[in-house]
Amino acid sequence: MSQFLGPLDSSGRVPPHQQTRVASFLMSLHGALARQLAIALPGQLKAGWQTELNAQLHREAEIVSLLLRATTWVPDLALPWPALSWEAAWLPKPVEGVADVRDALAIDIAALGHAAHGVIRPAALLPVEAQAQDPFVMALRRIEFESGRLIQAQILFLKNDDLKPLRHAVSSAVETRHAQVRKLWTEMLDGIGVRRSDPTIG
């Protein structure tokens, strides 16, 4: 087990089977977020922070599109089962302790987005020797870089004064999504021979 992707080939590229598994996971998660955002966003925005969500919807779709094109894909016969479990995990779950169902769903989507953009550090998987100009390497760096901005929509919403009375339920929902995303991400990495020394990173 290594802390990083690899061993790299002589050109500094990540092995295709690792690219395939990492990209599949990220496309599953960001694709789910794009779908959920597309449904949840109101036709007429009601608050300033929702402009961030509109941007996020398109960035999530961009991430899926980028990975589709930047990844060197290989057949992965072991992929269907974990992919199904990922898709099941991302399904919306109304947050407990929130009476309004629309709010409960919106908080869950934001919690999942916070986890996707906060917990997952795809660029931190890259060894220093990775070929900087390789499309997959660049895609992972770009996704991580964009995550720092995309998470702001979730932060603005989840820390919003309107949700102050629900702070316990909101914090609990975000921690639960963090734990879930971290667990699945770690398991996926384990499956391709990558083990982070610290389970809270990478």
Partner: protein, 308 residues
Amino acid sequence: MPFLTLGSYRIRYELAGPANGPAYVLVNGLTQYAELWAAYRDALVAQRFRVATFDLLGQGASDKPSLFISQDDQVEALHLLIGELGNGPVFLSGISFGGLLALRYAIAHGERLAGLVPMSTFAELSPQLLLLGNALRTGLILGGTSYLQDLLLPMNLSDAWLKPLLKNLDAVKRQGWLVNDVYALQNLMESFLDFEPLTPKLSSISTPTMILNGEFDFLTPRALHETLRVHIPDSSLVIIPKAYHAFTLEKPALTADLLSRFAGDVLAGRWQGNKAIWIAPDEPGGAMIPFPAGHDHLRAIPASGTAT
């Protein structure tokens, strides 16, 4: 890797040195992690100190609360760690944000401390510090941890330290970038959103206190340390020559020597704070020099004036 339990969170810590020795607890700055104290651990353990280091809540291998981190929780974590050290004398030192937490701890639990060493720190947010903090937070949001590091490195370290590393800065930044997450750093920064100045409470700190301030500290300049010196009764201000905000990274041998000498003086009953102002030596073991009488230590030029 041992952990403390704070509610539902885990705090990663390390202890080194003899269990029966006086203890030094070292508190990280905002973007730091426990391993950055390695040189201090080695130097202080060689002087028979027990050394405790840890990652703050939201840093490194400690848990990272997803939305909110309160400074009260950080003080509680520090209290748990100090509780692990038995009943012997405990010296507490922290850099920058860690210095602020050390001050908070001394206000809340000063009776447990034998000595306090706030370094490159502050008790209140001056307009400059507030605006710099806001700008650094925006930098983190827009450019990530790496960009925040790009802002902090030239602000807080000297040309002499940076020059040989210019072609290898990515390697310098990499570990801090790996172990710290954007949202967690943002939460740490946002723990200042409801910050109340500590200044009115500083006079309650009866612990011997040595305040360390780099001569060229831009982020937390002399005036912020002066507030500590004026209000903490048994304190002295020590100016580190040719040093910037992050002198703990740049001058570990000198700083560890100052920490050791301070603790030695306190334990031997020699320490007298007297709100005095000193200039530290350039090298470990050198003599401390009283700040020249008749000059204003808050000025960068030798203007006449006296301490307030």
